[in-house]
């Protein structure tokens, strides 16, 4: 049994920021990260971030882990980072089990936990959707930007949210042709500046369109694309064939909440937060005392918001573990102010509606 005051599950933007503020508060921290390096999805985000100074706007996602790791460095032995280590369960007695590598199991008994496990990509149902060559857009981004592997030559992007638009742009940067970006919705879901950027670089964006069938014998060779009406029904006679050897599915993310569900936390379906999420209070604590959440696991949003939530959850979690930070109230107020600014626009209004449904006043 290993002891640690604050255990953080997930070393992405939310988890790393939670670690920074928990350590600053004086707690000892262990981060469990299932990948071989820290950073979560930041490690493949070669584009510049939106937001403001405090959330490292204008910096490229790939450069942000180093900034956060530098903040963690000075805490020395107070911080333990375990990579290639997957948390398997949070038990009734507060014990967390983790798998190191492929066969070594370790138990932790923390005073408090921050679950910052992030999200996974949603799938889309259509005929032949299991053909090799059909990927999640995030998977293609990992292949290209982390491993330097070109996924193919002609890509059809399904989904015009920020991920679909950004990955399309990065595919073009890698010298891959993007034949079109589709979205079933009647309007572009991602930021218009991203859409304009790929449109002027020659990629058509087709809203109210969907893919109905993938073509190919052993691997993907093309796709049948159809127009949709305002009720999301396929319009007969609008079938068009696109030749492609890669299709990227980018139809949204869903929170990775399994650990919380198994731990008995109260869960709720909140469409604005993109799925089943843990109910929480204003201090980011779930219905189980001592289990906190931050980032996409409690609702899909931009990484900039995940970082601020991480700082907040880290402060609250450390306070729960007996380490209330100096100027606690002021820090909380400042961070909550940052979130309010980030969520002050139309996309934020949607998130705020979800949070209102999910966050207990107390």
């Amino acid at each position: 049994m290993r002891e640690t005051e604050v255990l953080i599950i997930g070393g992405g933007p939310a988890g790393l920021c939670a670690a920074v503020s928990a350590l600053e508060s004086g707690a000892s921290v262990t981060i469990l990260e299932r990948n071989r390096r820290l950073g979560g999805q930041l490690v493949k985000q070669t584009h510049m971030f939106f937001g403001s100074k405090e959330q490292y706007a204008s910096f490229r996602g790939i450069d942000i882990p180093a900034i956060l790791l530098e903040k963690l460095e000075k805490y020395g032995d107070k911080l333990r980072v375990e990579t290639d280590c997957t948390a398997l369960g949070i038990y009734e007695d507060g014990v967390v089990t983790a798998l190191f590598g492929e066969e070594r199991y370790v138990k932790y008994l923390p005073k408090a936990i921050v679950v910052a496990t992030g999200a996974s990509e949603k799938a889309l149902a259509f005929e032949n959707n299991d053909l090799p060559g059909i990927y999640g857009a995030g998977a293609v981004q990992t292949l290209m930007n982390v491993y330097g592997v070109k996924p193919g030559n002609k890509v059809l992007m399904v989904g015009a949210g920020n991920i679909g638009l950004i990955v399309s742009y990065q595919l073009m940067q890698a010298g891959v042709e993007v034949v079109a970006v589709l979205d079933a919705a009647p309007k572009i879901g991602g930021y218009c500046v991203h859409a304009s950027k790929i449109r002027r670089a020659g990629v058509p964006i087709l809203v109210s369109h969907t893919v109905t069938r993938a073509l190919g014998d052993k691997t993907l060779e093309g796709a049948i694309v159809c127009e949709m009406d305002e009720k999301f029904n396929v319009i007969e006679g609008t079938e068009k064939r696109y030749d492609c050897d890669v299709m990227c599915i980018s139809v949204g993310l869903t929170p990775l909440t399994e650990l919380l569900g198994m731990a008995g936390c109260e869960m709720k379906y909140v469409p604005e937060l993109s799925g089943i999420v843990p109910a929480r209070n204003k201090a980011y604590m779930t219905s189980r005392d001592g289990i906190f959440v931050a980032g996409d696991v409690s609702g899909i949003e931009e990484a900039s918001a995940a970082m601020v939530e991480g700082y907040l959850a880290g402060l609250h979690c450390a306070a729960y573990a007996g380490y209330k930070s100096e100027n606690f109230a002021q820090k909380v107020e400042d961070l909550e102010g940052q979130l309010a600014k980030l969520r002050g626009g139309p996309s934020g209004a949607h998130i705020l509606r979800g949070i209102q449904k999910n966050v207990k006043e107390d």
Partner: protein, 163 residues
């Protein structure tokens, strides 16, 4: 329509363009940022304090064309690559555009290029006049190119070279 195609309307574009008298004085920023999103690096990157987003970071930017010196720092700091410079001071027949360009290979000075509009359609030919790639640009180079003046409101970008 911008929200359906990614292409802004001519009215939207003209609304954010500087007056022609200012363009004829030298380089000036045009920020094609039409949607309320939470973002303000253009404001704090501008040493001349010529760009204002304001307290609500979801506001779209407002460029003070008289304060703008056309330095181009904002081009490399805007995460949406939505800002460009236009310059009509060098000749009565042509205008020069400066755009952030993140594709390899970079064009070379003197190279003839195809120039595209906001829909990505080739509308004319242009000549690359300068390529800047300072370390402080953080991997967002700036390409300057010259086109005939009649394309002032239509030209937007250069066609990518695909090998």
């Amino acid at each position: 329509m911008l929200i359906k195609t990614g292409v802004p309307t001519e009215e939207q574009v003209k609304e954010v363009f500087p007056p022609i008298e200012r363009i004829n004085k030298g380089r000036v920023a045009v920020a094609e940022c039409f949607q309320r999103i939470p973002c303000n690096p253009c404001e704090y990157s501008c040493v001349k304090k010529a760009i204002c987003v304001g307290e609500d970071i979801n506001n779209t930017p407002n460029v003070d064309f008289e304060k703008c010196s056309g330095c181009g720092v904002c081009l490399t700091k805007c995460p949406g690559l939505a800002i460009m410079l236009v310059d009509g001071s060098k000749s009565a027949e042509s205008v020069e555009f400066s755009v952030p360009y993140e594709f390899m290979p970079l064009p070379t000075v003197g190279e003839e290029i195809s120039v595209v509009n906001r829909s990505g359609e080739v509308i004319t030919r242009g000549v690359v006049s300068e390529v800047l790639n300072a370390k402080s640009f953080d991997r967002t180079p700036i390409v300057r190119f010259v086109v005939a003046r009649e394309f002032l409101y239509a030209a937007r970008y250069l066609k990518r070279e695909v090998k």
